[in-house]
Symmetry: C2
Subunit: 122 residues, 2 copies
């Protein structure tokens, strides 16, 4: 209820059905019945609608309209926020120093790329 956005995103990801839906959408836009097809043996269509609503409120997907269809597409931003939060823990899973070095090198590379191309990052 107090749920901040990050919590909502992680909660949405904490379900294999929803992760499978995201995997499907990573291959391209799809409407509700198309997304539902692989799951209709296991659950009803309203259940699918609910899962999609969870993904939508978490900002992971967005729906548009095409006649009766509601084409859904993946929305990278929410997942980026989650990934960026995780990034601060990378040092804990990069177990050897030289791999940590490699990571620090990539950070430098990224900063360079960012400096050359873009604008302000929060």
């Amino acid at each position: 209820m107090i749920h901040d956005h990050l919590s909502q995103t992680f909660a949405a990801l904490a379900d294999p059905t929803r992760r499978a839906m995201l995997a499907r959408l990573s291959k391209g836009e799809a409407n509700v019945t198309e997304i539902a097809k692989p799951f209709l043996k296991e659950m009803s269509l309203p259940a699918v609608t609910k899962h999609l609503k969870v993904l939508e409120r978490a900002g992971l997907i967005s729906k548009s309209r095409d006649a009766q269809r509601r084409p859904c597409r993946l929305n990278g931003e929410a997942m980026r926020n989650a990934a960026e939060w995780m990034e601060q823990y990378r040092v804990f899973w990069e177990e050897s120093f030289d791999r940590l070095d490699a990571y620090l090198a990539t950070v430098t590379a990224k900063k360079k790329a960012k400096r050359s191309t873009n604008g302000p990052t929060k």
Copy 2:
């Protein structure tokens, strides 16, 4: 109940209290009362124990024993698994091609580092 490991990890991360506990542990080992201190205005000690158990079952932390204390420490592996799952969606949040290029460069750099140094990875 059917919860696969990845779902458990994401579910554990979907709570600001638990994320704050991880942040605390990223600064170093701490036992239960130490971890609990910032939260005892908002919740009881058993509530803290429960949160820690969620983190533990998700593999995000591990407890050891020191007399009556249960020192907890962060365990990077579970978070790495989650981060690696997310990695496949990176293309959806890397909005410009040159930043994608930069990322691909880092992947190459990592491979090189691994090849040259390596050693057994648990």
